[in-house]
């Protein structure tokens, strides 16, 4: 087991290096470096040259890459071109908001998807099952920004049930109810696709378990159907689902860009969009690296959990 984890960890190192090279290369090919272009025309060319030199933009690419990677490894992601602040600070002050959103979404996804998935499996090939299947198809196909717009338009603007956006009421003191009230809609929108997918996974997993011999044994022993489903089937059906969480991470991170934009939620997704529009390269590079890193970690955790959970896997 330990050797498996170590081997799996070592495998991620070339992956991370590849990710960093692509991120770096993309920025090199991108036009319109603000340090070079968007400067005050009153600044004399010599001063501009000096600034470019000071930023190290004249050095050979491998040198620039090595300097940047050296920074990344030691936790120094450079300073924003626009606000001149350390990128690490900018990300870390936004990160909690995104994490709260992602956490709330995964709670919603689990709370909604697992019971519905069980019902769908228990009532396989009934009208209920077909209806649930249909709705989960819809959940995957619907664009999340549009769902967000619809919820804001009908529930927030026209009915006034929810706030239009933001983390909390402006200039108000911390209030848990107010926070949750602001959190609900964005979390629901972010959870849409994964709830639909998780419902399908739960259904498949339950169906697989339902036909196992030990379930028939439990029934043969005369246990009530509820006990058979919840005590015998569910436990085993849920195990493989643990790993799905690692795989849900990319959709959560990707979705957060859109959802944070729609709901004016000040998280890293919103920071990313702003930086991209301002061509703030250090922030864009850091964000691209960081999110890819999270995905790699997510996959790693999923693989390791799967190995722990399923004793049939050999390492």
């Amino acid at each position: 087991m330990t050797t498996y984890i170590i081997r799996r960890l070592i495998m991620t190192i070339p992956l991370l290096i590849g990710i960093s090279i692509i991120t770096f290369a993309m920025m090199q090919f991108a036009p319109g470096n603000p340090a070079v272009l968007d400067v005050d025309p009153d600044i004399p060319p010599e001063a501009r040259e000096a600034q470019i030199e000071a930023l190290g933009l004249n050095d050979p690419l491998p040198v620039q890459y090595a300097r940047w990677m050296g920074g990344v490894v030691t936790g120094d992601l450079g300073n924003s071109y626009i606000s001149k602040r350390p990128v690490v600070d900018m990300i870390s002050e936004r990160l909690p908001n995104t994490l709260i959103l992602m956490f709330a979404s995964s709670v919603l996804a689990v709370v909604i998807a697992i019971p519905i998935g069980i019902v769908s499996a228990v009532r396989q090939y009934t009208k209920t099952d077909y209806a649930i299947t249909l709705v989960s198809f819809a959940g995957v196909a619907v664009p999340n920004f549009w769902i967000g717009l619809m919820l804001i338009m009908f529930l927030s603007v026209q009915f006034g049930w929810f706030p239009v956006g933001g983390v909390q009421t402006l200039n108000a003191d911390f209030n848990l109810w107010d926070r949750l009230h602001h959190l609900f809609l964005p979390a629901l929108v972010l959870a849409t696709a994964d709830t639909a997918a998780l419902t399908r996974y739960t259904r498949t997993s339950m169906l697989e378990v339902k036909n196992q011999d030990y379930i028939r044994t439990a029934r043969a022993k005369g246990f009530k159907e509820g006990k058979v489903i919840f005590k015998h089937a569910l436990r085993n059906a849920l195990l493989p689902l643990i790993t799905i969480f690692g795989l849900m991470l990319p959709t959560f991170i990707g979705g957060s860009v859109v959802v944070e934009n729609v709901f004016s939620w000040p998280g890293i997704g919103e920071l990313f969009l702003t930086s991209v529009n301002q061509r703030d390269y250090p922030v864009i590079m850091a964000m691209t690296m960081f999110t890819a890193f999270l995905v790699v970690i997510g996959n790693l955790i999923a693989d390791i959990l799967y190995a722990i959970v399923d004793p049939r896997i050999e390492y």
Partner: protein, 306 residues
Amino acid sequence: MDQFNQAGKQESITPNNPETLGKHRSMLAIIVTKFFQNKLAVFGLIMLGIIVGAAVFAPLIAPHDPNYQTLIARLHEPSAEYWLGADQLGRDLFSRLLYAGQMSLLVGFAAMASSTIIGASLGAIAGYFGGLIDSIIMRIVDVLISFPNIFLLITLVALFRPSPFWLVVVFGSLGWMGTARLMRGEILSLKRREYVLAARTLGLPKWRIIFNHIMPNAIGPLIVSATLAIGSFIIAESTLSFLGLGISPPTATWGNMLSSAQNLTIFQTAWWYPLFPGLMIFITVLSFNFVGDGLRDALDPRVVEK
């Protein structure tokens, strides 16, 4: 998307239906029959027929010029004159939706074609030749697939501000990894099958083995993934356009229509404006997914006709 569709797949393995055994029909006839027995797939196909037809024949169908601004009709509600209402510049929403469909569908199809061609070729090369080429291609896949897609898309699109053509190129070059993995897997498993070995033993030339024996069996999963890919590219394009990064006005796409509909006054007074473009995206993507899923079941020999 792929994960989602995999999840529903396994339960469909049923023993051979005695009635269908012994009948000799062509593979295609069986596939077509199975496809048309799937109600959702047929529904999706009909919807797609209507949507694609409406987009193609937009100049004939549209009651108004999609870009003609009638200032007194600003945010006009749905009526006999403006079937689905009008937008904030007094342009007919129904006509704009038809023309927007042209762009959204075109980008979706073209992106699917380019990503499928790139993915299938690289996957086939990796699978067939193996060794170093295989390792290089698959490591590139591993790296590219680690970026949350939307981050790379947004970065590239925001920095390079591509025309629709280059947008398709960006989609193609970031969307091929799943197809490559799929194709490689197919080739790897097919090239070791007995019938391929038999073909080789008979002394058939390599190209005949690849084109006549391996490709026809690998094409099924490829068609399924291509169909499902169109839907996700349409979502990607509309997301980018919604964020103001994809295709910019005055060329209408469903996404940039939603972008200009994101406004508090419009939310208060003109519910039809944000509603219909999103509904079009939703129905279109749903239909592609239904068709893709139907194709998968129809092409899967383990799923037997009812």
